[in-house]
Amino acid sequence: MKDFKYNLDKLFYPDSIAVVGTNKVVGTVPHDILRNILDADFNGVVYPVSPKERFVAGIKAYRYVTDIPDPVDLAILVFPSSVIHLALEQCGQIGIKAVIIISAGFKEVGGEGLEREKRVKEIADKFGMSIIGPNCLGVINTDARSKINASFARRMPEEGSIGFLSQSGALCTAVLDYAYAKHIGFSKFISFGNKADVTEIDLLYYLKDDPKTKVILMYLEEVTDGPGLMKAAQAVIKAGKPVLILKSGRTSEGASAAASHTGSMAGSDEVCDAAFRQARIIRCQDIEEMFNIAIAFAYQPIPKSKKIAIITNAGGPGVLTTDAAIHDGLELAKFSEETTEILKKNLPKTANIKNPVDVIGDARADRYNVALSAAFKDPDVDGVFVILTPQSMTEIDLIAREVAKVSSHYRKPVYTSFMGEADVAQGIDVLQRNKIPHYTLPESMCRAFATVYQFGVEQKEQPKQVKTFKDVDDKVVADIISEVKSSGKNYLTEDLSDKLLKAYGLPIVQAEVASSPEEAVKIAESIGYPVVMKVVSDQIIHKSEAGGVLLKINSADDVKNGFEKILKNANTYDPNAQVKGILVEQMVPDGEEVILGLKRDNSFGPVIMFGLGGIYVEVFKDVSFRVAPLSMYDAEHMIAETKSATILQGIRGKKPGDMEKLLECILRLSQLAVNHPSIKELDINPLIVREKGLGAFVADARIMI
């Protein structure tokens, strides 16, 4: 059995490393990886393994890894993919538990490569090894205890508290270069490649417990285990470490030919977005945004409130910053009398001493010092933004040092934006070396602060509980599905849909199928007018489109006429459609129409949709998604995200809707989704939500299995 923690400890903190398949040819991956390990001053023993060379880089080389006389903790395999299995088998034989396979030519090339990767996984499992890769850049650990650069990146990054995981090796090199220029350091830097064995989920759990890592960044191309990723991220976040993910592949794959509204609207990226939000993962749009937020988490404390002070030497940028701050939900702190007095006494008469504080264009370091000190000391201020524009007398360097010096005395976060590029470069360098977050634009600064603040707020919220309804009948649901499957169909007619939903406690309007106009009248009279009439046919899924729905039927004559009309419309729409009957249904007198849906996502499993309902749902797309199972928190927030929420709260004299009943319906649907994986797609459109206390009713449903 694999001891995951032990293995990854050997990966990141080995006492000895074997580079298997290395050579003397400078500029090749097998050589440069060995060179990088040596140049980074690895705190242990290195063993080159080469079939031909008897020494590499001045170190004795062994022909096979099995020839090494001492224990080896970590093996880095750089042979061509065709022989990796031979090297890996030998590593297993001598008890190596941690392996990095750099070589390409596996799953990513398909065909034989896929077979090679399966073989790698089999050998790993046989010997209880943990494998990073194949097809990766390698692994870097900046911890002084270890200092490994087991990669073919150009350089070893600075030590820091950011953990970085990437599915793309090439992107890693760009990120390292980007970070190096900005003095951004990493704790651990891992290119996990094809994730044949160790996945991003395993690495998240490992970094959760890594004392050197404060914040985790990830670049991901595919989500293979959505629920697993959400669970891991939630565990990491609960441990106080934010998780930021840049997930590529935003372009819609095009909803597959889906019969339901939910199916056609729940594209994989919308679902991914919702799932990340649900797990409190911070999804980033690009690398720059990711690092803008990461440095805020890594360098500065989480703000206690969203009240900030802005200090600027220019009015325009001060206003820009204020606009951006308000846009992102921040507030300008209100200075105390004491703060105002200090500023008034020490700044020129032309300076603006209210927030934002404008120390004006000719300000040197001393004026910034006064303004900074006063702002930090003010009891209403929980964050300080420092803006600088390079006037001819601006002491850019000195001001940067002043920011570093003053802020070090306080536990309040400071963020900076020295606007420009060339003249401010040296000042920015000072800020970056002193771990003061710097942003090219005030807008990025505000967004980063708001994100960090929000993280802090969410950390204080109660953990989410998933409710289980006991008054449901899983057997009835299973029997209905089985009955439909055995008849060779994949679509439930309305009467069966109603029966299924009723078994799960969803409120269904009174309804019955009539096979003649006279029977329809009898049913209508027992339900009570007005009624709705709908065609029942396996072949007619979108009933409104087919002219198969009539509303507000108020008399026996209307029922009879309606019956004939629906039959005629159905025949026109699809002459081959088999009409089983006409459903006569209670008409809910009033209420707001919403849609509830369910779909199975390839990565995340069952997904619930909520939104503004009716026939134009695919036009307005005012919908939100969550991955089942949902907690009450999830259900409340998915409603709040939509515009429908405002309507349901009651507008233009209308009373608020029955939110309690709506939430219950969402949670029951979530439980149904989890317990019955045979239900492939489901739409309840509309669910009519009446005013508070009067309930909600399923007026139409469509279920595909």
Partner: protein
């Protein structure tokens, strides 16, 4: 040509191209893993076999050959 003769010539060519002691070129030796052939040398080996045996081999299939004994079998099939 007898198989033993093919085998002897193959081993001679391998030792020559990879600059190895002929005794190291055993039957079950893997060209990459045991004898240290890189991608350039793999191509050189194919060319050298073709010249030594006066044959023209399917290059893709030739490059997929992993061991000395597999090479002997493959070349023998052309003779």
């Amino acid at each position: 040509m007898e198989k033993s003769e093919v085998q002897e010539k193959v081993k001679k060519v391998v030792a020559n191209v990879l600059k190895l002691d002929p005794e190291e070129v055993v039957d079950d030796a893997n060209f990459i893993f045991d004898l240290g052939a890189d991608s350039m040398q793999s191509l050189e080996l194919v060319a050298a076999f073709e010249e030594e045996f006066d044959i023209e081999m399917d290059e893709d299939k030739a490059l997929a050959i992993q061991t000395v004994s597999d090479a002997v079998e493959f070349i023998a099939s052309y003779l």
